[in-house]
Amino acid sequence: MSLVKLTLRELQERFTRGEVSAFEIVRAYYLRISLVEAKVKAYVTVNDKETVFAEAQALDKELKAWRKTLPLMAMPVAIKDNICTAGMRTTCGSRMLEGYVPPYDATVVQALRAQRCVIIGKTNLDEFAMGSSTEHSAFGPTRNPWKLSHVPGGSSGGSAAAVAADECVAALGSDTGGSIRQPAACCGVVGLKPTYGRVSRYGLVAFASSLDQIGPITKDVMDAAILLNILAGRDPRDSTSADVPVPDFTRAFKKKDVKKLKIGVPVEYFGEGLDAEVREAVQAALEVLEQLGGELQEVSLPHTNVAVATYYLLATAEASSNLARYDGVKYGLRSKHHQDLLEMYCRTRQEGFGPEVKRRIMLGTFALSRGYYEAYYAKAQAVRTLITQDFDTAFQSVDFLITPVMPTPAFRLGEKLDDPLQMYLADIYTLSASLAGIPAIAIPCGFSRQGLPIGIQFMGRPFEEETILRAARAYELATQWRQKRPPIREK
């Protein structure tokens, strides 16, 4: 089997046994990129080949000096292009930061580098992570490897497509309202949004600070746990990162079933608007989980129907504040057309931001403006409390929840581009976990008749990633979805 088809753990085992060198690994991945990237367009920047080859050769040479290999050593990992990489441009998919070269690494990137992992490139995203299709990138859309006419989901669409198309062994994404889970579902791969505070956000370009979270996008659940082991932990540079013990997440897989676990099925996630094929696939998955020893129980999350409104008020309000920093002074674009400072600000932001980012800044600014703050922003904050309480109540009687990830499989490019509200409504099943800060993982659970992947979501209690990882892995091992590969042809 070709090297690029292996999971991270399989590849790591071969490397550890000395069956394959770091150089052979990176060479295989650069070859794969040269054969499919023109179709998929997963990357904004592919790392310089000669530099990476030299690094890999250096690693192979000094390998004898290492007493043992590290879990991510020599693994080609892609990074979403809103996570800072020292010396490697970080664009956020925006004209505003087209030439921005961070002077520092994000904490998660530092952790990867300490593993001697290979940063193979920076992946495409909706501008500043605002979108559900990766069409809102200033550098053009990414395509779904399963069907090039369709979107890969978003905003981490580049990361999900790169993993699905074997252009990297694993990737990092960021999730503010579903931006890891939804593209993972669209591309038939695994996407984990950890509990808010589990992973440091230092060096993640801020979109909505009370919601943003970094997480892995991988070929299987095992790989997600391996990456989370490296990413998780308290970071003094992010005061919202949680000071809680970090277990070895791969130990969650000692049990290969879900015996004695109570599985909540929220009725609100199976109502109107759910595509019939998605419903069928998720229901079939529930039966598998039942056979694996789980006890299904209907639960209610009564405020699910207002999650979209709540999220899009809070996230845009935070974004309007976070994106105020793009003023043409410290970094990024500066407009040439101005007479004075105020005009420089306004023109810079006009020229640097794309339509979706402007729309969200406008919405968020409105929600925070005098006369509307109470009715919109403060109201949404109160409803967020109710949404969180819904989960608290549900988790008193069940151990985790099962839902669809998205109401439909991936949609066609352009299909929702002119209708922002329709695009927002596609996020209905992923937003609530973000608002409540709980961990959630999306994994494949089937295919539509058109051949597009369908995803299932496991949501767990705060800081209980182990439970959803165990259940997701048990389901993954009991099914064969991962064996199916995207039909993309090498050039």
Partner: protein, 97 residues
């Protein structure tokens, strides 16, 4: 909630966005539709509910106030669109008399 032209103008100014007339009209229509959808929040009873501004961390996070290594000036200015003598350079703020 329907937005007027004047409101869009006002919000655009607050957000420091020099919007074109076409953008203003498109945003007026789109945001009106989105805000109308969001009005469904009004029916949710939130009496006595504490608003949530962040995650459930009720403790403050302190650190000692000690000097630490920071970027050298050159590096901090490396991405600046314009700089001079170790400073960020911006257009003139005060008008000539």
């Amino acid at each position: 909630m329907r937005l007027s032209e004047a409101e869009v103008e006002h919000v655009g100014a607050l957000a420091r966005l020099a919007l074109t007339p076409d953008e203003k009209e498109a945003f007026r229509l789109q945001l009106s539709r989105i805000l109308t959808y969001m009005d469904e929040l009004r029916v949710v009873n939130t009496d006595g509910i504490t608003p949530m501004s962040g995650m459930r961390t009720n403790e403050n996070v302190f650190r000692s106030d000690e000097p630490q290594e920071a970027f050298p000036q050159e590096q901090a200015l490396a991405n600046a669109p314009d700089s001079q003598d170790g400073y960020f350079r911006v257009p003139k703020i005060l008008r000539d008399r």
